[in-house]
């Protein structure tokens, strides 16, 4: 050691060590500062994710319950006559029922009566009507019915309306609050699970709006997307990975697929609008067109995932099959493809999950229409989950804020489910060679 340094012009080794030792503290501090900044950055990202989820849950959980009122309805034969069904003054009957439950309220005053009637949702009278139409013997009987309240009273019951606000600026006035509290004191107000959210389609009234149409629409769109992009993607990937000659054309196709994966989604919407709807005259708002558009976007993802899965199958499998006299296509379709299938399926599910959350192209082909019934096929007008979220986020009614969050939670639930299946498939069937 000493021999090496004595001959040269190097500084005294002890001094060097000293200098290094002196600076070491500073340098280590610098390193740990870098480390802390890095951890801070990750913390910021995770905090954001947490705030995102927390804000959705805190606003959204309220939409999973809905305020109901249990009423004892006397189906008055004066108002509802068997020979005139399905017509009848169902709303008056409900209004009277509520009036009877509120002693001391002057129901002869038109304005008061109307305000009492508006406690119940507009859907309540239809619920009663459907019951009576299905069973006309109910006329003249007293039936117990659990009906949803209208959106403002739902908000009130959930504590989302500040009772301290000045009466003039509040959407529910003092006397209305008093009446609702009187009902509440009778124990007829309940807050059961909001099944409407999953059993009905869109509506102008928050308390009657549900996601069924959107979920069914998304299902059809995803089904079409899968049926088109899966075979096309696998076919393209097998050709490019296993059979394509290495030449200019294959290169162009490859660059093309990579670029296609990075084209903004709204451009695919423009393509669909101009070509599918404009030139081919396909129906607007149809999940079929949506699925077709999403398929074009999902295909590059599936191609890339399939190629990676095919590449991961070791060449020994191919050589063994070739050695036994299989043709190249037999090798691929009977040996390589089955082994690559778990990887392909994982990639496909992840691609479909992306397609499920895609909004912009669906907006351009009109899947943001206001449609109050679930589609019965892929060619009928429908919305999809993300576009429904967009519609509700744009709606002015207070009740739609929490419903938008609830719809997002449902969408995120589906995404987590799909990704969970993908991870499960990967862990269960993936083979390390």
């Amino acid at each position: 050691m000493t021999d090496m340094t004595t001959g040269s012009a190097a500084p005294d080794p002890h001094r060097t060590t000293e200098i290094v030792a002196k600076s070491l503290d500073r340098r280590r501090r610098k390193q740990s500062r870098l480390k802390w900044i890095g951890m801070g950055a990750i913390m910021i990202a995770f905090t954001m994710l947490f705030i995102l989820v927390a804000s959705l849950v805190s606003t959204g959980w309220q939409a999973f319950v809905q305020t109901h009122i249990t009423v004892e309805v006397f189906v008055d034969p004066e108002e509802i006559r068997a020979d005139r069904l399905p017509r009848g003054n169902f709303d008056d009957v409900l209004e009277t029922t509520l009036g009877n439950m509120l002693p001391g309220v002057d129901m002869t005053d038109r304005a008061t009566a109307r305000s009492v009637g508006s406690i119940l949702s507009d859907g309540a009278q239809f619920k009663l009507r459907d019951m009576v139409v299905a069973n006309p013997e109910l006329i003249g009987e007293t039936i117990t019915l659990k009906v949803p309240t209208s959106d403002i009273y739902d908000q009130l019951n959930k504590g989302l309306i500040d009772r301290e606000t000045d009466n003039a600026n509040r959407r529910v006035k003092d006397d209305e609050i008093a009446r609702f509290d009187a009902l509440k004191a009778q124990g007829v107000v309940s807050k059961p699970f909001n099944s409407t959210l999953f059993t009905s389609a869109d509506s102008r009234f928050p308390e009657q709006a549900g996601l069924k149409g959107a979920i069914v629409g998304s299902f059809w769109a995803l089904l079409v997307c899968f049926l088109i992009s899966f075979p096309l993607g696998i076919g393209a990937a097998i050709y490019l990975e296993e059979f394509a000659p290495k030449n200019k054309i294959s290169d162009i196709i490859e660059v093309n697929i990579n670029n296609l994966a990075a084209v903004p989604s709204v451009v695919f919407g423009l393509l669909a609008l101009a070509v599918f709807i404009g030139w081919f005259g396909m129906p607007r708002s149809a999940p079929f067109v949506g699925g077709l558009t999403l398929a074009l976007m999902t295909m590059p993802t599936i191609i890339i995932a399939t190629r990676a899965a095919l590449k991961a199958v070791p060449p020994s499998i191919r050589e063994a099959a070739l050695g036994l006299g299989a043709s190249r296509q037999q090798v691929v379709f009977q040996h390589v493809l089955p082994l690559a299938m778990p990887g392909i399926l994982t990639g496909t599910i992840i691609g479909l999950a992306q397609a499920l959350g895609e909004t912009a192209p669906l907006l351009l082909i009109g899947m943001n229409a206001f449609i109050t019934s679930a589609p019965s096929g892929p060619f009928e007008s429908a919305t999809a989950l993300p576009t429904q979220i967009f519609i509700w986020a744009d709606s002015p009614e207070r009740g739609f804020v929490s419903r938008t969050s609830a719809a997002i939670l449902v969408l995120l639930g589906f995404l987590v489910l799909m990704n969970g299946v993908a991870i499960y498939l990967r862990q269960k069937f993936e083979r390390k060679w």
Partner: protein, 458 residues
């Protein structure tokens, strides 16, 4: 009923498979040696039927709507379509189709009822003709395929030829899609430029897309200068990058060099969750949480903040881009050969110094490529800005103001009923064209950098 041709086709294909296979089997049972396995004989017949007939059905179904519409419109009584615009023509057609579905509003004119009848008759006729053609074609191919069955028929080569063709077709779909995008965009852009001169579009500083209320109201056509729109896009992109680049890079540095293996295994998928959240969710988050928060902060500081400020949309978009940048930077850092790392550590650098003076500079080209891809994503990102940014095109670079972006304009111009003959609709396609070109150039450039740099270290 529309599924009937498909059922017919599937039945024919199954029949072809069964017939040819049993024919090949009986040849084999007679003691002959077959060139191909019997199932290949079956497959040959099935594919030979499936491919052309399915193509026929799909093309037929794709074109019949447009063809029938054209015939119905052509056969309207002479003079009804004289002198009305294509928008009104569309309305008449829509009315005829809705009458044919049994939905009538008021009492339509007799010629409309007649047209609706004709429309229905044509559809019916087309359906039966399609079924007849499918049946005839399937039977013909079935007979032809059956006649080919022989001991020395090379059925396997036939099948593999067809399958190769199909796979090539699948690969070419990607090219078709690109061509479709370019063709449709340039076609509509060309029509837009017939109405609005190119120089007005590229250099105009006013973006006020309006439809004239009266046909002779030329002055109110609106202004179609895209400068304020692209400027707004740039402002939001810059805000997004200000958020995404530091957070993304620093977390990548930490993950790559300092994080314990176990922590890394938790953090990486956690970050990827941010990337998996649909953009419409981010948009709602921006409206619900971020924009009010920024507004309150601004008010408490006495600064005037627009309700849909570029800052809210941009910062939320930045959060969305964090995992994108961090995973690209992580990959780039990992791609640097460990010899460089070891050499730096070997001459006494701390791991922090190794990172800042050796690893990071060596990975910089790859990181720049990743950031460029993030830029192209930010420019093309739609839902966040549609929900959180403004609609008015202001020529400003103040991120506290409300700005609009290319994608916002595309969506707002095209939402709702659109006809393809006014500058408002066509302007959306012109903007789409510009968006496509800009992102394409950035993407090609970025992918080339990433690729070239990977090769340099391989």
């Amino acid at each position: 009923m529309s599924s009937f041709p498909f059922i017919l086709l599937i039945l024919a294909a199954i029949a072809g498979y069964v017939i040819n296979r049993s024919a090949a089997k009986s040849i084999r049972d007679d003691g002959n040696r077959l060139h191909s396995m019997t199932s290949y004989h079956g497959m040959f017949s099935a594919l030979l039927i499936l491919v052309p007939v399915l193509t026929l059905i799909l093309v037929w179904l794709a074109l019949q709507g447009a063809a029938i519409n054209a015939i119905v419109m052509r056969d309207l009584p002479a003079g009804t379509l004289d002198g009305i615009g294509s928008g009104a023509e569309q309305l008449i057609l829509a009315e005829i189709t809705s009458i044919s579905r049994g939905q009538m509003f008021g009492t339509p004119e007799d010629w409309k009822l007649a047209a609706a009848d004709r429309y229905l008759a044509l559809y019916n006729w087309s359906r039966w003709l399609l079924i007849a053609v499918v049946a005839a074609l399937s039977l013909g191919i079935l007979a032809f395929a059956r006649s080919r069955v022989a001991a020395d028929f090379r059925a396997r080569q036939g099948v593999e030829g067809i399958v190769t063709g199909l796979m090539i077709f699948c690969s070419v779909v990607a090219i078709f899609t690109t061509f479709g995008i370019i063709l449709s965009l340039s076609f509509e852009t060309y029509r837009f430029l017939e109405l609005v001169p190119l120089t007005d579009f590229l250099f105009g500083a006013n973006w006020e897309p309006q439809i004239p209320i009266r046909a002779d109201q030329i002055a109110a056509v609106g202004a179609f200068g895209w400068l304020p729109v692209i400027l707004g896009t740039i402002v939001i992109t810059v805000v997004a990058l200000f958020v995404a680049v530091p957070i993304g890079l620093m977390s990548a540095i930490y993950l790559n060099e300092f994080a314990p293996r176990k922590l890394r295994a938790v953090i990486k998928p956690g970050l990827e969750m941010l990337a998996g959240v649909p953009t419409v969710v981010y948009g709602f988050f921006a409206v619900l949480v971020v924009a009010p928060a920024i507004r309150n902060l601004g008010q408490s500081l006495g600064i005037d903040v627009a309700p849909n400020t570029a800052l809210a949309a941009g910062s939320v978009m930045g959060i969305m881009l964090v995992p994108f940048i961090s995973s690209f930077a992580d990959d780039a850092l990992s791609a640097v050969p460990s010899a460089l790392k070891d050499a730096a550590l070997g001459i006494g650098a701390t791991r922090g110094e190794m990172m800042t003076t050796v690893l990071f500079p060596a990975a910089l080209p790859g990181i720049v490529g990743g950031v460029l891809l993030a830029v192209s994503r930010a420019i093309g990102e739609t839902m966040i800005v549609v929900m959180a940014a403004g609609l008015m095109a202001n020529l400003t670079i103040n991120p506290l103001d409300s700005v609009t972006t290319v994608t916002v304009q595309i969506v707002t111009l095209l939402i709702g009923d659109t006809s393809f003959d006014n500058p408002k609709t066509l302007a959306a396609f012109a903007l789409g064209m510009m968006l496509f070109l800009v992102t394409l150039v950035i993407n090609i450039f970025a992918l080339r950098i990433v690729r070239k740099y990977r090769e340099a270290y391989d």
